[in-house]
């Protein structure tokens, strides 16, 4: 009986809250299928007529497919970089003991505390100096250099929750740190890695300002920039913009679904009990 009641409660809460949370998205979908004069009409959820052609117009007017390819290249490269370098660094902060570790940990954290607005100029000047403007390099290479303080911090927290006994057992058997890292830490931190994969993908996919300032030729633009081509100082095209942003959402949704299998509860701890 208790089981049934709790199930009902859970479902009721889920449904109620999902309705609230999905309203912004539903409005976007609705707006993407309207004609311009209907977009801001109050309380109209189902457009009349439904303009599927808005989606076609997005591709007609700008080279959106090109932007997709560019976004994929940049985002996947960044993903590889961030996952690999952040996990190495996080392992070092979480499990290795070395002189200056806690100091550098705070330094690493502090890189998140200065607004990007002020570091943009020196970064731009630097990348210009080494000739990386109008390439994808300024967007990708920093991901391999630590992969971002956010990711390092997150993984460090996760690594710290993994019981020491596992590592001790491995080391007694003569494992090097690298093997401990690769064969114990990484497999057990799969949920965290999946989270970073999703967050990093989204962050890079939706990143607007950096690709905008580093890329000159517009055929190298990413999806996020493409969406803003439907917005200008004078006339907005909100219906096209919504359509474009919904198309842009799809790869993220696919990734999100795929990553769900890592969010299955419970780690299986082998051989360590009592």
């Amino acid at each position: 009986m208790r089981r049934i009641v709790s199930r009902v409660v859970v479902y009721a809460l889920l449904i109620l809250l999902s309705v609230a949370f999905s309203i912004p998205f539903l409005w976007s979908v609705s707006a993407s299928l309207k004609s311009l004069d209907q977009v801001f009409k109050a309380g109209v959820w189902i457009p009349m007529p439904i303009r599927w052609t808005n989606y076609k117009h997005v591709f007609d007017n700008i080279p959106f497919h090109l932007f997709f390819v560019n976004s994929f290249v940049v985002t996947v490269a960044c993903l590889i970089g961030q996952l690999s370098s952040a996990s190495l660094v996080a392992f070092s902060f979480a499990r290795l003991r070395w002189f200056g570790r806690d100091f550098w940990f705070v330094v690493m954290l502090s890189t998140m505390m200065l607004p990007a607005v002020v570091t943009m100029i020196p970064h731009f000047v630097f990348f210009n100096y080494i000739g990386w403007i109008d390439t994808f390099k300024p967007l990708i290479v920093p991901s391999f250099l630590g992969g971002g303080a956010f990711n390092i911090f997150l993984l460090r927290q996760f690594f710290k929750t993994i019981p020491l006994d596992l590592e001790d057992a491995a080391r007694i058997d003569g494992c090097s740190s690298f093997r401990v890292f690769l064969q114990i830490m990484v497999p057990l931190a799969k949920p965290a890695l999946a989270t970073i994969a999703v967050l990093s993908f989204i962050g890079q996919w939706n990143n607007f300002i950096e690709p905008l300032i580093y890329l000159h030729a517009y055929r190298k633009f990413t999806v996020a920039i493409g969406i803003s081509m439907f917005k200008d100082a004078y006339g907005m095209f909100p219906h096209y913009m919504m359509a474009a942003s919904i198309i842009a959402l799809l790869p993220i949704l696919v990734l999100f679904f795929a990553a769900q299998r890592y969010f299955v509860s419970g780690i299986v701890l082998t051989g360590i009990k009592g």
Binding site: L96, R97, L199
Partner: protein, 321 residues
């Protein structure tokens, strides 16, 4: 030195080398990219520059920027207040609601993946599009939020509780309600915090719950005595990241207050927006850098405080005390 002592030294050296090696991507990145940028902005905070003239036009002015900021600038204090207000409300809301949602979404019910996706959706839409959507939702006359509140009011009238008046604020156009509007927007975007909690919850071993079930513990006790302590590392993470993020809130406010005016009587002029305006609208990059460093120090102090306190309440399974 004895043989044992030199062996110890070698071991210590190897240990340190290993530590640095694994951390090297981050350290190298910091030294090459970040340190230079940070020092440059620090230097600029003692200078004046319009950020479009050549670099040689930068003129040194000593502590002028800081003096003006602390003693002559009303908007500095106002923007600080706005940011503090926003942080004070949005961080606890985000950190706790995301946790509760994550627990809810961790239940083994059918279709949970679909629900998880729905909750995550608002945080993955591109900034510019999100702004359009929210300015519609928060519209005082035909936005869905006020329409719902209006219906509630009409309902209360009908059941003779008309003296209870649910406010129907003008949200972003109102001096008082504009920050709450921003906070509402930030709560909707808590998808990433929720995801991180979900990942953290996966790390709580099932056998703990099983033992508790055997003892007949209620759901609430299981939550409070098992779940929460086990995910304190995740709570710690979300707390710090949310605080850092809230202090630096910019993009959402920028896109939704078109023309970055700062809102009615500067009520949504958050700190980084003010900084941005000084840098790019008023062409006072030096002053903006000074603002940035003052913010940096504040965030650093706050973070260190939370870090220090963590020894009291954060529990790491994998840590020897």
């Amino acid at each position: 030195m004895t043989a044992i002592q030199s062996a110890n030294v070698r071991r210590a050296f190897k240990r340190n080398l290993e530590g640095y090696l694994f951390a090297s991507p981050c350290l190298v990145g910091f030294l090459i990219l970040t340190l230079g940028a940070m020092l440059f902005s620090l230097f600029l905070s003692f200078a004046e520059w319009d950020a479009q003239s050549p670099l040689k036009e930068i003129s040194f002015v000593g502590f002028n920027n800081y003096r003006e900021m602390f003693f002559e600038d009303e908007l500095f204090y106002k923007s600080l207040y706005n940011t503090a207000y926003y942080t004070f409300f949005s961080v606890p809301l985000r950190v706790t609601i995301a946790l509760l949602l994550a627990v809810l979404l961790n239940q083994k019910v059918r279709g949970i993946t679909v629900f998880r996706t729905i909750f995550y959706l608002p945080s993955i839409v591109v900034g510019a599009a999100t702004a359009v959507v929210w300015s519609w939702i928060l519209n005082p006359s035909y936005g869905i939020l006020n329409l719902t509140l209006h219906k509630i009011n009409l309902f209360l009238d009908k059941i003779y509780l008309g003296f209870i008046n649910v406010p129907e604020p003008t949200w972003l156009e109102s001096e008082f309600w504009s920050k709450p509007a921003l906070i509402i927007m930030s709560v909707w975007g808590l998808g990433s915090s929720m995801l991180i909690y979900l990942a953290g919850l996966q790390g709580v071993p099932d056998h703990l719950y099983e033992v508790a079930d055997l003892d007949g513990a209620s759901s609430l006790r299981k939550f409070w005595n098992i779940t929460v302590p086990m995910i304190t590392p995740t709570i710690f993470f979300n707390l710090i990241v949310s605080v850092i993020g809230a202090f630096q809130v910019f993009t959402q406010v920028y896109v939704i207050t078109v023309g970055h005016t700062g809102g009615p009587n500067n009520s949504t002029l958050v700190y980084v927006l003010y900084l941005y305006r000084k840098a790019f609208d008023e062409l006072q990059m030096g002053y903006a850098c000074a603002l940035a460093w003052v913010l940096f120090v504040m965030i650093l102090l706050f973070t260190m405080l939370i870090l220090r306190s963590s020894a009291l309440w954060v529990y790491y399974e994998g840590e020897r005390r």
